[in-house]
């Protein structure tokens, strides 16, 4: 106990070596590849440049953190900014540093606008969003009960929120649309 000076060893090295495959192979910190944290080795990475070639920026300026002194030479080109979500995101990048909560909360808001815009736009395509197939919820039929009943899982207390988060907005939009149609009909009568 910590109330006195000594602490007993849980097991001897011989016992541990006998019981655990590979016990102690990295006991010497020199064998640990990430010790020490920084090892200066500019020739060990495979890079054959002092500074990489610059990737072309494309049609619109690439959004970047205002904590960057310049646009880094290489970047991802997936899903460029567009529409309302794009405007929200660009504002978050242009106006607020990563140190500001507003930066991240605006980006999260942009994400929700993006997802809702995409859902609505998909209704006008040959492949509208399908909440059944896209959530993979069919796997519940095969595994849902056995995975939860009689187990001591701590996540069951909040999993009921997921369907509400996913389906809730669809239900609300549906109810709203139905109410709108009913109101129109009433007015026509």
């Amino acid at each position: 106990m910590p109330y006195t000076a000594n602490k007993p060893e849980p097991a001897t090295r011989e016992e541990l070596r006998a019981r655990i495959p590979g016990w102690g192979v990295d006991l010497d910190p020199a064998d640990r590849p990430s010790v020490p944290r920084e090892r200066f080795d500019p020739n060990g990475t495979g890079a054959h440049w002092d500074f990489p070639d610059r990737q072309p920026e494309g049609d619109q300026p690439r959004e970047r953190s205002i904590e960057h002194g310049m646009l880094p030479p290489v970047f991802g080109t997936s899903a460029p900014l567009h529409g309302v979500s794009g405007a929200i995101r660009r504002f978050a990048y242009d106006r607020f540093s990563e140190g500001r909560a507003a930066h991240w909360l605006l980006l999260i808001a942009g994400d929700r606008v993006d997802a809702w815009g995409a859902h609505l736009r998909s209704l006008a395509t040959l492949r509208p969003d399908n909440p059944i197939t896209e959530t993979g919820v069919v796997s519940e039929l095969r595994h849902g009960l056995t995975a939860r009943v009689g187990r001591k899982r701590a996540d069951v207390n909040h999993q009921w929120i997921d369907p509400i988060l996913v389906a809730g907005p669809w239900v609300l939009v549906g109810l709203g649309a139905a109410a709108g149609v009913r109101a129109l009909r009433r007015r026509q009568r």
Binding site: D26, E38, S65, D129, I161
Partner: protein, 382 residues
């Protein structure tokens, strides 16, 4: 090409997408053969990571065949079979030249606080990932490595992130001979961290989770002593009791942003996005270790603030160590351990899901159905 595409929180589908092209002289295009869904992909899937855009493809754990190379690529040629580390990095910046590949400063315009990863939102650079038939691999001379003949494909995939991260997490614990190590989370990273703790000389390895089937794997795969926290009124007190009232010498948080155990913390972060992550596991780590201990954080947290018990960490004189793992830095030594038979990484794989069924794969993994521990994604024929 066929690719997994994000459609909004909890929704993904497979659709036709243009094949990626060479955008930089040191790019390669890799035809993916085998990928995986990572626990951290679930944070994206749940809509927790800021700037996760509809239409992006996830996946930072994959292996495949080089399909095309840019004009400055020297070390790879078309047809080479490669394993690609989850980090995208330049190899020449201040950080890369010091081995901090996960902190590269030349690959992520969107944020300076994080490096770049494949398929992990625009906050990590806006690159598409490997849950697709093809993927753009920047800095082909730096990251990808030819898969050694003796290494199984499934083991190679585990090296691209989960195994390297778990092994790195144990190193950040600065374990000395005989230390008691407690690992929070018996997912892939936690299992590998527990296993690796023995390599560094741990005298006792304890794993905490709430899923019995995963704790079973922690006992068989990682030889750990396990406790299901739902069976104890207060897991912190229990950990003190079983360590002679010291607490562990080292704790490893292998849970991250969506920790269970506190309804309020979980809902405020994972559901309402008011926190960058539910720090339940991290707070248990801080409170359950002994004074002067080291806490290694491998769990992924978002960039928004989290309610961490910093006062306790300060008063106890703890050392908090953390980083995204620089994957490739771990590989030479892990190759030796796999060849020596100290571990078989693919022992924790439970599911092999065809790309076309990936939506169900995400749901099964996210909801922990069918005793899922690690799902691989099979792309095309092997």
């Amino acid at each position: 090409m066929r690719a997994m595409v994000y459609r909004g929180p909890y929704k993904v589908r497979v659709e036709e997408k243009p094949k990626p092209r060479i955008e930089h002289p040191n790019d390669a295009i890799v035809r993916v053969q085998l990928g995986a869904i990572c626990g951290s992909d679930l944070h994206l899937y749940h809509g927790m990571m800021p700037d996760t855009r509809v239409g992006t493809t996830f996946g930072h754990e994959f292996i495949g065949v080089v399909d095309e190379v840019g004009p400055s690529v020297q070390s790879l040629k078309v047809g080479d079979r490669v394993m690609v580390p989850a980090n995208i990095y330049c190899g020449s910046c201040f950080y890369c030249t010091r081995g901090l590949y996960s902190n590269c400063h030349n690959v992520n315009p969107n944020a300076t606080a994080v490096g770049a990863l494949y398929g992990y939102s625009h906050t990590t650079g806006g690159y598409d990932g490997g849950q697709a038939e093809f993927v753009r691999v920047p800095f082909a001379d730096v990251g990808p490595t030819i898969i050694p003949d003796w290494l199984d494909d499934e083991d190679a995939v585990m090296l691209t992130d989960a195994l390297s991260t778990g092994y790195f997490g144990a190193q950040l614990g600065d374990i000395t001979a005989g230390d008691t190590v407690v690992v929070f989370g018996a997912g892939p990273v936690g299992l590998y961290a527990a296993k690796s703790s023995w390599f560094m000389g741990a005298g006792r390895v304890i794993v905490i989770d709430h899923l019995d089937y995963r704790l079973e794997k922690a006992r068989t795969f990682a030889h750990a002593e396990t406790y299901n926290f739902t069976e104890y009124d207060d897991i912190v007190v229990h950990l003190k009791q079983i360590t002679d009232w010291f607490g562990a010498d080292v704790a490893i948080d292998a849970v991250g942003a969506e920790a269970d155990g506190s309804f309020l913390q979980h809902v405020s972060s994972a559901k309402l996005k008011l926190q960058g992550g539910s720090p339940v596991a991290l707070n248990w780590a801080i409170d359950s270790v002994r004074k002067g201990a080291t806490v290694s954080v491998m769990g992924a947290y978002g960039p928004i603030f989290s309610a961490v018990k910093f006062g306790d960490a300060m008063n106890k004189g703890l050392t908090l160590r953390m980083n995204q793992a620089p994957m490739k830095r771990q590989w030479p030594r892990l190759f030796e351990h796999i060849q020596a038979g100290h571990l078989k990484p693919s022992d924790i794989v439970t599911h092999r899901i065809p790309l076309e069924h990936i939506a169900e794969g995400y749901h099964i993994f996210s909801s922990k159905l069918d005793d899922c521990i690690k799902p691989l994604v099979v792309v095309g024929e092997r």
